[in-house]
Amino acid sequence: MTKVGEPLRAFFEAEVDRLLDRLYGTALRMTRNGADAEDLVADTLAKAWIKLPELKDRQAFEKWVFRILVNSFISARRKKQARPREVTAEVQCGEDSFSLFETVHQPFLLWWGNPEQELLNKLLREDIEHAVEELPEEFRLVVIMVELWDLSYAEAADALDIPLGTVRSRLARGRSLLQRMLWRQAGEAGIAACNAKGGPR
């Protein structure tokens, strides 16, 4: 057991207090399940607590603990993963890129107002959460790293132990897929259809 002194303990508790909601929110998007997310964060923080004396740069705590979260998630998945890697039909078929902006921002709609802003206003947080969670894991992790944790591509590549080019391509595919899902959800919610008609909202 590693002995953690009082100043380091106070530092850890303050950082965990600051980051816990964010770690849990990220774990929720990763695991798609509250109980699993809680286990993942608890496991992560237990590892972080034990390894804390090895952390030289306290400024790096946030990214360090996030990296432990990612590694814990990946290793837990590998243990479970007797089943084949998840690949949705959309990923198999959706090789072409998709842009929500280009889809909404069409000349015949522009006289009517600001369709892309209307769409943003009407996308519910639940819709976006669902879309992120539905991304296949390899894309979801990169999107979470860059968009939720603001990691650089190099940091994401390092955390996932994959080449920089793979981060770029997964991020592009992940974002494209995410936007395609949001467009589909918007259509199901009647937002897109309503916009396309230019009718009353």
């Binding site: 909601d21 608890a42 923080l45």
Partner: protein
């Protein structure tokens, strides 16, 4: 790099620009273009706002049970 980028080049690099992954010169060229091109500026604003909305999904309230577990980790390990 010339500051006179075409809109297609700007759109092609837009997400990397928003991710702050471009070199300083390219970043400056895109910023210059968007300062004068309403279409590309509008597109950038949309992508920026969408990214902010996606980023919000990482926010959640950790349950009390998790907070108790974390306290136990610090106390007992």
């Amino acid at each position: 790099m010339t500051q006179d980028l075409r809109c297609e080049e700007v759109i092609d690099k837009l997400l990397e620009y928003l991710d702050r992954e471009l070199d300083a010169e390219t970043e400056q060229a895109l910023a210059h273009h968007m300062a004068t091109c309403r279409a590309c500026f509008t597109r950038a604003e949309f992508e920026r706002k969408l990214r902010a909305r996606v980023s919000e999904t990482g926010k959640a309230k950790a349950p009390d049970s998790l907070r108790r577990r974390v306290r136990a980790i610090v106390e007992h390990y």
